[in-house]
């Protein structure tokens, strides 16, 4: 089975390698495979990096075969086998080094991985190029004086080929990255970017005329756009497109002599820049994400503290009443127990009220919209207010326009919002002498689709800055508040497609805008 799988993989690998070799056999030095663009080593390295070094012999055989099929063994069969051995061993060494260094997974996610990848590839291909050219030189196959330029050309070709193509292969092999690519493919922006890169390539090679390397810098802005928006996956795809464009461009102007080596060096520089940019963009996004996560955790901690406080109050009172009841029984004062038990029940009720409020708060997404007449909602405010200002002399006025359309809201949630606003208003006017506190609730038609409910009080009001902060969770003006009331209220209003704002004024004023029935 193992052997079969090995042969199957090799049978898949060899034609792909051969195809790449054939496609990229351009601008060679003499009859040899010394070209300024060699993407096929990337395939060999990626295969050995992901699949293991056991593939090295298959790589060797494939290189020999490709040389035979494409170039008919230009230096003789023996030299070709030897040169292929140098290449296969060199690529295997690069794959091994990457396998050791890019742990646990070679995915180019971090600056460290990218730097190691670039370093190993650049250094490894220098050695491989030297070995390959030396074999040809030793066999006297090279024209005089061609060894050094051959080495350089082979190195640039291999290095650029691997830098451009290997990341592409690693991306395609990574399930999470493939998901990245799919989401990129669904964005219109991606196609605009591709079109822009293609247009720029056309300008460089055809539109502007002259030496394409002079206009190469034009590619930087679109590629920066790609890397910033698409991260490393976008950068890799864009680089591949640029490489393809450069190859096509060279082909298109095959009759003219172009500084192909120089162009490929430019591609290498561009590749490095854009890859690093993509990785940095992604690292920054990850950092922002983990910051958000820790903020969420901190908020949960705050929340737990606030809940503990809210539940502790009735629990403490309950325990006190319970102990009192015990003492009454010990003292034989059973007649008074009834009153104590009544108060215990009230405290238990209060504790369950806290829990219910929390459930309301966490019951997100379960909004049940129904048609509610405005007047009905506002009338629900009265008992809430009466309960909240228990005994305090505060004047409450409620005033709604006639013939307001019905609202389309979740009645419970909007009542919760109104309760919060009324409670706030009552606390705001508390500083006034008894009888001087005033709270007004008005409802007016805002536009065809919305009703504006204003809860105002004659308390001190808020400044613009405080008005903004008041809606942040855990910001409370009260020593005993959870600081969640307004944050939750605004979330509810926005979930309804409405808004909730504090107006900066010398008195308290909160504006709640809510949608009406569609035909209202």
């Amino acid at each position: 089975m193992k052997v079969l799988r090995y042969l199957r993989d090799a049978a898949l690998f060899a034609p792909c390698y051969g195809l790449l070799d054939w496609v990229s056999y351009i601008h060679p030095l003499g009859p040899f495979n010394i070209t300024p663009w060699n993407p096929q080593p990337a395939l060999a390295i990626a295969w050995m990096l992901l699949g293991g070094l056991a593939h090295a012999p298959a790589v060797w055989v494939t290189i020999v075969l490709a040389d035979g099929v494409i170039r008919k063994f230009p230096a003789g069969y023996g030299v070709s086998v030897l040169a292929a051995l140098a290449l296969a061993a060199g690529y295997a060494a690069i794959a091994w080094a990457l396998r050791m260094l890019l742990r646990p997974q070679p995915n180019l996610r971090s600056l460290r991985q990218l730097t190691l990848f670039v370093g190993v590839v650049a250094a490894g291909t220098v050695v491989v190029a030297a070995a390959f050219v030396y074999v040809l030189y030793a066999a006297d196959a090279l024209p005089p004086g061609a060894a050094l330029p051959g080495w350089l050309r082979f190195w640039v070709g291999d290095a650029v080929g691997v830098l451009v193509t290997a990341p592409l292969l690693l991306v395609v092999a990574d399930a999470e990255r493939r998901a990245n690519l799919r989401s990129l493919a669904q964005r219109g922006e991606t196609y605009a970017q591709i079109a822009l890169v293609a247009a720029t390539l056309w300008l460089i090679f055809a539109g502007l005329g002259g030496d394409p390397s002079h206009h190469f810098y034009l590619l930087f802005p679109p590629l920066i756009w790609v890397a910033i928006r698409g991260g490393i996956a976008g950068a890799i795809i864009a680089i591949a497109i640029v490489q393809l464009g450069v190859v096509l461009g060279i082909h298109h102007r095959a009759l003219q002599t172009l500084p192909v080596l120089e162009l490929q060096a430019l591609v290498a520089a561009l590749t490095l820049t854009v890859l690093y940019l993509g990785v940095m963009v992604e690292e920054r996004e990850r950092a922002a994400e983990s910051l958000k996560e820790s903020l969420r955790l901190a908020a949960a901690g705050e929340m737990a503290g606030a809940i503990a406080h809210e539940v502790n109050q009735p629990l403490t009172a309950l325990a006190n009443y319970g102990r009192s009841g015990q003492m009454m029984i010990e003292a034989g004062r059973n007649a008074e127990l009834g009153a104590v038990i009544e108060r215990m029940l009230a405290e238990a009720q209060r504790a369950s009220e806290v829990v219910r409020r929390l459930r309301d708060f966490f019951r997100q997404g379960a909004t049940r919209l129904e048609q509610v007449p405005v007047s009905e909602l506002l009338e629900a405010v009265r008992p809430i207010a009466a309960q909240a200002y228990a005994g305090r002399a505060i004047a409450l006025s409620i005033d709604a326009d006639q013939d307001l359309p019905d609202m389309l809201v979740d009645r419970l949630q909007i009542e919760l919002v109104l309760r919060n606003l009324i409670t706030n208003a009552i606390e705001a006017v508390e500083a006034h002498a008894p009888g001087r506190g005033q709270i007004a609730v008005t409802a007016r038609r805002d536009n065809a689709r919305h009703v504006r409910i204003v809860v105002s009080d004659n308390g001190p009001g808020v400044s613009a800055a405080v008005g903004k902060r008041a809606f942040e969770p855990f910001v409370s003006g009260k020593p005993s508040g959870m600081g969640l009331g307004l944050a939750v209220s605004r979330a509810i209003a926005e979930a309804h497609g409405g808004t909730l704002e504090a107006r900066a004024a010398s008195h308290g004023e909160f504006h709640l805008v809510l949608p009406t029935r569609a035909d209202g």
Binding site: G305, A308, H309, N312, Q313, P314, L315, T316, A317, L318, A319, N320, Y321, R323, S324, M327, M328, A331, V340, R343, A346, E347, R350, K478, P479, S480
Partner: protein
């Protein structure tokens, strides 16, 4: 010594149920209580002569229990504070102890914990009251001395013999002896050692009713 028996637990908490349940429980336990809904009303009513202890919530509207304690201290009272809180708040606890809170209790607490804290506070108060009583008694005794007797006492405490005192004051040694006997009678001490101890204690304690030394 009537003050010892007038120790009151002053409860300052903005939560009506907590106040009510505490008053009931402490009342059944035999403590006298007075209730306040916030720090301001407590401060308005507060007299520095109050004794007992204050049981205050850490988070009160407008002022923390710790701030309340500092305000009370600023008015010259050492009445012990017990701070209760629903937040296990370390910095607040530290601040409370630095301002001499007797105890820091987290809600929900069990009643023995609170009673122990109150009893410890009351014990402190009783010691303070007893010491004050003693000082008052000493001062009262000192005030019985005549001016000349006070002069003699001052020199005697400094360790001078009857003859030396006589020489300093220009009176006979015999008269000094007579003064000294009268002083010991008035201060209710039996020998010179006790006399010296009495005088030193009186000099150490800054009692407001005491005359100039």
């Amino acid at each position: 010594m009537a003050e010892r028996d007038r120790l009151v637990v002053y409860v300052v908490d903005d939560d009506a149920s907590i106040r009510d349940s505490l008053a009931l429980m402490l009342g059944l336990g035999g403590y006298a209580t007075q209730l306040f809904g916030d720090a301001e009303s407590f401060l308005v009513a507060f007299e520095p002569t109050w004794s007992g202890c204050v049981v205050a919530d850490l988070r009160l509207p407008g002022m923390t229990g710790g701030e309340l304690q500092s305000r009370v201290r600023a008015r010259g009272s050492t009445i012990p504070f017990i701070i209760i809180t629903a937040h296990g708040d370390v910095p607040a606890a530290r601040a409370a102890f630095r301002a001499q809170a007797v105890d820091f209790i987290e809600k929900p607490f069990d009643d023995t914990q609170l009673r122990q804290a109150i009893d410890a506070a009351f014990a402190l108060e009783r010691r303070r009251i007893d010491a004050a009583e003693l000082r008052r008694a000493d001062a009262e005794k000192l005030s019985r001395l005549t001016a000349r007797e006070r002069e003699v006492l001052e020199h005697a405490v400094r360790g001078l013999h009857a003859k030396e005192i006589a020489a300093v004051l220009g009176i006979s040694a015999r008269t000094v002896e007579v003064h000294r006997t009268r002083i010991m009678e008035k201060l209710e001490v039996r020998n010179i050692a006790e006399l010296v101890r009495f005088a030193l204690a009186a000099a150490d304690s800054p009692s407001p009713d005491r005359g100039a030394p």
